[in-house]
Symmetry: C2
Subunit: 373 residues, 2 copies
């Protein structure tokens, strides 16, 4: 029986303990993994031009189905020729399913087996997202990787609710798969849930992986639980996932959680953290976190990070960036965003090299000593 | 007697009626005039990286002495190696004297012959600017062109007040000239005042030009008066200025006022208008002004201006820019700012070509018909 060509192809190049070095081919180019994906919530990485996002080393960006469904509307993006053309970004894009935002941003109406009714956070208008609708929207947006519509469980949550959501998320994933026709153009990833219950995580993984999708997201982590709890559950999750498919830990972007995730076999991450922190004047550097608003940087003419060669560090001093942030100049947020995203892109590149050399544990230990020391 | 080398050198290349085509050499490069100068109030053109400011055709930017004096403080900029290095801009810079902002932004304290006491608009702290202090600050900032500290008269103003301010502005200009030592590094321009009184404008011009400075600003126009009144006074002003020195009409940036100014012999302009309008979703185009928030642009996939080849128009649709502005994404302000500044840079370039060809009046008439038609 002839197998249809799939939109993505994942190749595992090396392993080092549980850490994986891979390569994910997509219709818009090849992604070296592990990879951090900058978030462009509303079809724009906040404050940064797409050329600058590419220049800082980003291989793929994420955009949010919930936001783009509400504004400008997926039909507008479809008419524009899809998200890549709309936002002037010709590298790979991943769209989430809208599930997380429906449960966290919108005024939640009713969750039924059919889907979720909610009120838009923009204008209060009554809206509906379902597995079929999420796929329709994501098909219109045209990202290389799209995500199944899931029910994201908050932390803490009682077991009966989590059990029910595991079942619903699995049934919704089946409906997403049935609704998604063009698997050569866009790869549909499943999402496992299960809250902080190891057995429910295993059950969710079993039900989602049974759909034989080209990749899997781990949802419902980094939602407020202690990090040690997250790492324990993550061990359970990655143990249940097939080795030949990419694994995406959703919503994680702090340096420690990225390296802990990689050490447990995660290949893909996304988070608004680096750009949100940037807008608040916070930089990630090789010497640890730095708050540019501190008075000590007022006459500091060195770059944010002496070990960084990003656009921001090549051209601007801490003194100037502090001035911009203190003055409310948008350029400050842009320069810090470029640096923070470059820092995470560089961290991922170093992690990939370490895995290739069988030295990931030592790399991680050295990084933690320097960053959190 | 040997003449000292001056920081700037102005050459008049062509005239067409009263319109002038010139070339102003500065320590950081040559400026083709007439020129529009984008404003980087706080040592940054709002939302736009300096490379992008250069790429859109800006020859020189303006920065504000009042703002930089208060924050980060001129000594910080001096330690950084001056404004050019601080803000990563290696083309010419002009700083204003702080006079206009003291009179318009600050909580005004007392105007004396010595200078102006005021309360900072940032933290309410008591501050003082005087001719000597303004020059000290501008020397520290290190712009190619610096401006004399003047008393900017509001509109409307009674004759006795304007008379007094003409005298004070002249005495302050003398003190600025005396305080400014390094005329090879920075050119000090005088500023004429005189409100809407033709004879006081003539008197102010006579007293300021008697100082034989390398250029002259026309202050106190575009402060709320009807445009026809401004143009009438402008005729008086340019008649009183020497032909061999550049003339700078301060605070003017609407397309009509730029062309009317050029037709009266103005060489330099600055205004926050193109970037401020951009942040409000307003574009200047070859077909006239455009408000990108209008619903009619929601599914319009053409560029802001079909006749424009700026970065924004080459890469983004009206639909996308409207989406960014409606969504409050900073990138929208950046893309519109790039376009509006490119539009004015292009307008000035076309004006220069028209003057060279002796066709400025026809160019102006054609532009007005297309833009305001």
């Amino acid at each position: 029986m002839k197998t249809m060509k799939q939109a993505v192809d994942f190749e595992l190049l090396a392993v080092d303990g549980a850490a994986r070095r891979g390569r994910l081919a997509t219709p818009h180019g090849v992604i070296e993994t592990p990879v951090f994906m900058p978030v462009g919530t509303q079809a724009a990485v906040k404050a940064v031009k797409p050329e600058d996002v590419a220049a800082l080393g980003a291989q793929i960006v994420l955009a949010n189905t919930y936001h783009l469904f509400l504004r400008p509307g997926h039909e507008i993006v479809r008419q524009a020729g899809g998200l890549h053309r709309f936002m002037n970004w010709d590298r790979p894009i991943l769209t989430d399913s809208g599930g997380f935002q429906v449960f966290s941003l919108a005024a939640l109406g009713k969750i039924t087996e059919d889907g979720v009714r909610f009120a838009s956070h923009i204008d209060g208008s009554k809206q509906m997202l379902s597995p079929e609708k999420s796929i329709e929207v994501q098909n219109a947006l045209g990202a290389d990787i799209i995500m199944a519509f899931d029910e994201c469980v908050p932390y803490p949550a009682e077991r009966p609710y989590v059990e029910a959501s595991v079942g619903r998320t699995a049934r919704w994933a089946e409906r997403c798969k049935a609704a998604h026709a063009d698997t050569e153009r866009q790869a549909l990833f499943g999402i496992m849930q299960g809250g902080m219950f190891a057995d429910l995580r295993r059950e969710s993984a079993a039900r989602i992986t049974a759909l034989d999708l080209p990749g899997y997201g781990i949802g419902g982590l980094s939602v407020g639980e202690p990090k040690e709890l997250m790492y324990g559950i993550l061990d359970v999750c990655t143990d249940c996932l097939p080795t030949g498919k990419p694994r995406y830990l959703m919503g994680v972007g702090s340096p420690d959680a990225l390296l802990e995730g990689i050490s447990r076999g995660i290949d893909m991450f996304d988070c608004v953290l680096p750009t949100r922190e940037a807008r608040h004047g916070k930089a990630m550097t090789s010497l640890g976190p730095l708050n540019i608003r501190n008075a000590g940087h007022a006459a500091d003419f060195s770059p944010l990070d002496p070990a960084c060669d990003c656009y921001t560090c090549r051209n601007y001093s801490r003194s100037y960036i502090r001035h911009l942030i203190k003055s409310g100049e948008m350029l400050g947020a842009a320069l810090l965003s470029i640096h923070n995203l470059a820092f995470l892109a560089g961290l991922m590149a170093k992690a990939r090299t370490a895995i290739e050399g069988g030295a990931f544990d030592a790399f991680k230990a050295d990084f933690f000593a320097a960053y959190y020391g």
